[in-house]
């Protein structure tokens, strides 16, 4: 993968947000399945136009976490992370945003879902983890 990347901090925020969108439980969450890799692939592929939005949005998530809890998003407890994302979803943010927090969050949800439930070839469904979880097999039949 060439060109675009993010800071470690932004990557950490993205990983944490992906795990709130599809959390780990008895099966893996979005981050472990490769959501970050999937999104970076999109930003380096068909969606270069969304790079700036992602950087703004991830910084914004972190800023909201700081404003509400005084800590980085990735360091918050799951329930607090969820509260930050819910506030964004409902456009109840505490800091000044240059993009719509709601639109960014909706795009993020869509991308995480796509990565997690699409074919492993897209990089976000490692070892077909989501397919095994729901019982879908690309070859036909069920797990």
């Amino acid at each position: 993968m060439s060109g675009f990347t993010m800071t470690e901090r932004q990557l950490g925020t993205l990983r944490a947000a992906a795990d709130r969108i599809i959390p780990p439980d008895e099966t893996c969450g979005a981050a472990e399945a490769g959501a970050v890799e999937f999104i970076l692939r999109l930003l380096n592929g068909e969606l270069p136009g969304e790079r700036a939005t992602y950087l703004e949005g991830l910084d914004g998530i972190d800023r909201e976490a700081n404003a509400s809890y005084g800590r980085a998003f990735a360091e918050l407890a799951a329930a607090d992370q969820e509260a930050v994302l819910t506030a964004m979803e409902e456009d109840r943010v505490k800091t000044a945003w240059t993009i719509s927090p709601r639109s960014f969050f909706q795009m993020l949800v869509e991308h995480v879902l796509e990565g997690f439930y699409a074919d492993p070839g897209n990089g976000g469904n490692k070892d077909a983890a989501s397919w095994k979880m729901i019982g879908y097999r690309a070859e036909g039949g069920t797990w």
């Binding site: 439980d25 879902l113 796509e114 439930y117 699409a118 070839g121 729901i134 019982g135 690309a138």
Partner: protein, 541 residues
């Protein structure tokens, strides 16, 4: 003269036309703008296919080379790429849509050819009768079923028109969804039957049987057990030695002389412009591109385009508004075996009190998980968080989706025109898509979704939901109607043989000539008409 006939477009119709003519001894040039193996067609990318084309697709046309302009109802226009909403794409490759379709193989009903006579014409709509009827097409439906290969159960559909010969292949096997839906149908007194499909349920025509992987809709069949023109009629055409296929051939215009006689076509092969002369020209490029080509072939004597002296080319664009409902069962009903679609009813195609037409209902093909999370979650359910993950885990295998296409009520304002500014990679003016299907279609769709809900509820689902249909322009993979046939040159573009009025050797043979599009997937009708009209052309030229 280089060829007897030039056929433009190697899809459902063009492949058949080329084969019929070549086997009748004509020298045929078959031009296809897409490729034989378009990039991605053998791939399994769940986000870039003809069913879910979020970031691209897999069967053409190339994203960068073929823009279109879409226009909203309030007149705003924007540039659309082939994989984007509003483009109304169909595949562009050898086999066309038949390469990547699900392959439902419906015969229209007799009423579908006589919609205006049966129902009257809703105000503001362009509903009309076909100049031919079911009996004219029956022998050619049979040819399509046998020569391309359809699996089905003859006589099981109580509402189907009479047929002379059974299907060549046994119907698809039952599955748990069908068992459940049969129970509900029995409770409601609904006649149901296995969906007829262009799929090899047993080996046929020298190819193996379907292996039931479930990658039917939107993908090329990994084992070649799905039947399209690319693995039946086109190889036969090429086998005669009289048909030449050129892929990557983008037709610029059809040439006509001052009497309107077609003399040949100019096309780009790669970026090189070539001209070939022929005794007849057949447009089989699909309802949008065939209309575009006729309009882009304007001359001083036909300044609006060929066949367009009365401003009919490009109008009445119609596909299908889809409607249906979702239901969730207590127990899993998903066995993952393709094609998945296994039960249908045609009870609601006609005879619906107070409704114009109607449509079939059938269970869905195997649903990709990425599609499930986008479209099959219940209303009000958050799509993120632990509850959403657990919902998908619990209900992917319990959800039944029953849906169908309603017979669109056409509007003359749903149309394809030529954009005055935008050109494609080769400098050819592109289409502009505007208008909507007639609003009467929404009443029909709303009626049909309620029937889908009732069927699911009667089948033992614990929860049922659906969404109200929305009015828009419909075209896409079922696109039709833009060069409708008829006896009156002022109200139609071709005669019933697909011959363009006023042009003795210029034809349209594809969904463009459908006057109406049935409450069914239209491909078998496109194929039957192609057989009928190509045979007539071979006999008369």
């Amino acid at each position: 003269m280089d060829y007897d006939v030039i056929v433009i477009g190697a899809g459902a119709a063009g492949g058949i036309v080329a084969c019929v003519l070549a086997e009748a001894g004509r020298r045929v040039l078959l031009l296809e703008r897409g490729g034989d193996e378009p990039s991605g067609v053998s791939g399994r990318d769940h986000l870039r296919n003809q069913r879910l084309s979020i970031y691209g697709h897999n069967a053409g046309p190339e994203l960068a080379d073929h823009p279109r302009v879409a226009v909203t109802s309030d007149g705003r226009s924007w540039l659309v790429s082939p994989h984007e909403l509003g483009y109304q794409n169909n595949a562009a490759c050898v086999g066309g849509g038949t390469r990547v379709y699900g392959g439902m193989a419906w015969r229209f009903m007799p009423q579908d050819f006589r919609m205006a006579s049966t129902y009257g014409v809703p105000e503001g709509s362009s509903l009309a009768d076909w100049p031919i009827g079911y009996d004219d097409l029956e022998p050619f439906y049979e040819r399509a079923e046998w020569e391309i290969g359809v699996a089905g159960s003859a006589g099981a559909d109580k509402f189907a028109a009479p047929r002379k010969r059974p299907y060549p292949l046994p119907p698809v096997e039952s599955n748990p969804e069908r068992v459940v839906l049969e129970r509900g149908a029995a409770a409601l007194g609904l006649n149901t039957f296995p969906v007829p499909l262009l799929i090899n349920t047993i080996p046929y025509n020298g190819r193996a049987a379907c292996e039931r992987c479930g990658m039917c809709v939107g993908f090329a069949c990994p084992t070649d057990g799905k039947n399209g023109t690319q693995n039946t009629m086109i190889p036969r055409a090429l086998g005669t030695g009289r048909c030449k296929l050129i892929t990557g051939a983008m037709v610029q215009r059809i040439h006509t002389d001052e009497r309107g006689h077609a003399s040949g076509v100019s096309f780009f092969a790669g970026d090189k412009l070539q001209t070939c002369m022929a005794g007849a020209v057949v447009c089989s490029a699909g309802a949008i591109e065939s209309a575009r080509l006729l309009m882009n072939s304007a001359t001083t004597s036909h300044p609006r385009g060929l066949g367009n002296d009365f401003d009919q080319v490009g109008r009445h664009l119609q596909g299908h508004i889809y409607t249906g409902a979702f239901g969730v069962m207590e127990e899993p009903v998903f066995d993952g075996l393709g094609p998945g679609v296994s039960i249908a009813t045609t009870r609601f195609n006609h005879h619906n009190e107070g409704i114009v037409g109607g449509g079939l209902l059938a269970n869905e093909f195997i649903k990709l998980p990425a599609i499930f999370v986008k479209w099959a979650m219940p209303p009000g359910m958050s799509r993120w968080g632990l509850a959403a993950k657990r919902y998908v885990k619990e209900n992917f295998r319990r959800t039944i989706h029953v849906q169908g296409p309603i017979q669109d009520i056409p509007s003359a304002d749903a149309r394809v025109t030529i954009d005055p500014f935008v050109r494609d990679r080769w400098g050819i003016p592109v289409v502009r898509l505007s208008g909507t299907t007639h609003p009467e279609s929404i009443r029909t769709a709303d009626f049909l979704r309620r029937r889908a809900e009732e069927w699911l509820a009667a089948s033992g689902t614990k929860r049922v939901w659906s969404y109200p249909p929305r009015l828009g322009l419909s075209g896409g993979q079922h696109q039709a109607g833009t060069c409708r046939m008829g006896d009156d040159p002022r109200a139609s573009v071709t005669d019933s043989w697909g011959r363009v009025h006023g042009h003795s050797n210029l034809f349209v043979m594809d969904g463009s000539i459908h006057v109406t599009n049935g409450g069914f997937n239209p491909v078998l009708t496109i194929m039957a008409l192609a057989f009928r009209n190509a045979i007539h052309l071979a006999e008369t030229m």
